[in-house]
């Protein structure tokens, strides 16, 4: 029998995490996922919890839930902090590769006004393709080195593409393919799985506590949470991609992040985008 160990865990944090947030009522999950029913339940949950928030407004995250923050945000939107990134993205997007082709050649409609269709399930590859991934594959196919998924340049490109889709409703499709359903289910499972030393799942903050404070921040609701991506975060003093946000979320709860565009993250993006179908693209966004 081992001697008792002297452990220096963040006991307060762990205990708080485990006890402060109520568990949802227990129910057996269906074996075959039903995304349509899931999305409906997901939407109903938030609409019921926040009856005074117009449905589309959930895409504005914390600003839909806090008046003071909203006022500040609306003021800043007259001169948005993502403006420089957006301009850079527009220039980058238009500039041809060394081989003479450009990003537009890789995408439907020359890449304009299509962001709301990402991510999509690729039956040939059997995997989910996100916009960031598609952009780097476009570069690779044209002899260009890949961009970092967490740095400014990728964020600038997706900022521009999001901007061309502003107002268009998310339109994620799950084809009649068991692999697509599996990817969706993987994403859903990731979303609700507790991880990190703080034992939080994505749902802990964004389903159980939207509108509440986490330290000095107001938590965003999960409904519409990707609609405004990529975002200029004042905290980062710069622009960040979906990849960057997922990675930092993981490390903030003391979980070692996975690699950018890991299968889990791609599937997570698929799930979160699908359950926000119908809500408008609001990117690029600004957050505290």
């Amino acid at each position: 029998m081992k001697a008792p160990l002297a452990i220096h865990l963040a006991s307060a944090a762990l205990a708080l995490a485990a006890t402060a947030f109520a568990a949802m009522p227990s129910a057996v999950a269906a074996d075959t996922p039903d995304p349509v029913a899931d999305a409906k339940a997901f939407r109903n949950y938030f609409v019921t919890k926040f009856p005074n928030v117009p449905l589309d407004d959930f895409a504005n995250g914390p600003y839909s839930l806090n008046e003071d923050m909203r006022r500040q945000w609306e003021e800043k939107e007259q001169f948005p902090p993502y403006e420089f990134s957006l301009e850079m993205g527009k220039e980058m997007f238009a500039k041809p590769f060394k081989n003479g082709k450009s990003y537009g050649d890789c995408f439907p409609n020359q890449g304009i006004g299509i962001r709301q269709n990402y991510p999509y399930f690729d039956p040939g590859e059997g995997k989910v393709i996100t916009l960031e991934l598609a952009l780097n594959r476009c570069r690779g196919a044209n002899g260009e080195p890949p961009l970092s998924y967490v740095e400014d340049e990728m964020a600038a490109l997706t900022a521009y593409m999001a901007f061309t889709s502003r107002g268009k409703p998310f339109d994620i499709k799950i084809p009649d393919d068991p692999r697509a359903l599996e990817a969706y289910q993987n994403g859903k499972r990731y979303f609700y799985t507790r991880r990190g030393q703080l034992n939080f799942s994505c749902a802990t903050c964004h389903v159980q506590n939207p509108g509440e404070r986490m330290r000095a921040e107001i938590l965003a609701p999960a409904l519409g949470i990707l609609n405004a991506m990529p975002i200029y975060r004042s905290e980062w003093g710069g622009m960040g991609t979906i990849s960057r946000r997922m990675i930092t979320c993981n490390s903030q709860i003391r979980g070692v992040p996975l690699e950018p565009q890991a299968d889990e993250y791609r599937d997570l993006e698929y799930y979160l985008s699908y359950v926000s179908n119908g809500l408008p693209i609001a990117g690029p966004g600004a957050r505290p």
């Binding site: 003021e75 800043k76 007259q78 001169f79 902090p81 403006e83 004042s234 003093g237």
Partner: protein, 103 residues
């Protein structure tokens, strides 16, 4: 090179409201890069707004102002169509200036 200064000045009644967004790293000199080296200080020290031959706003800045600073203020007077001149100088002696029409 494109201007680092984005400005919108709107006159209404007796006052003109000015908003400006400036592209500048505003490095404080306290932050280290990925290699552990200090990023040298590089920040705007003086920002001025000139209207009708006089200064209507002067900002003396230091390391505490964040990257890509945004300023909003109002001044008495200012008519639609008039010029507003904005200039900044930083600690390296770099500068930029732009003139905008009040709307």
């Amino acid at each position: 090179m494109a201007s680092t200064i984005r400005v919108r000045a709107i006159s209404g009644g007796e006052t003109t409201e000015v908003q400006v967004l400036i592209q500048h790293p505003m490095d404080s000199g306290f932050v280290k890069d990925a290699g552990g080296e200090i990023i040298p200080p590089h920040f705007i020290q003086e920002l001025t707004f000139e209207y009708d031959g006089r200064y209507v706003f002067i900002a003396d800045w230091g390391a505490a102002v964040s990257k890509d600073p945004y300023v909003k203020f109002s001044f008495k007077g200012g008519r639609k169509g008039d010029d507003l001149k904005i200039s900044w100088v930083d600690n390296k002696g770099e500068t930029d200036t732009t003139t905008a029409k009040i709307q």
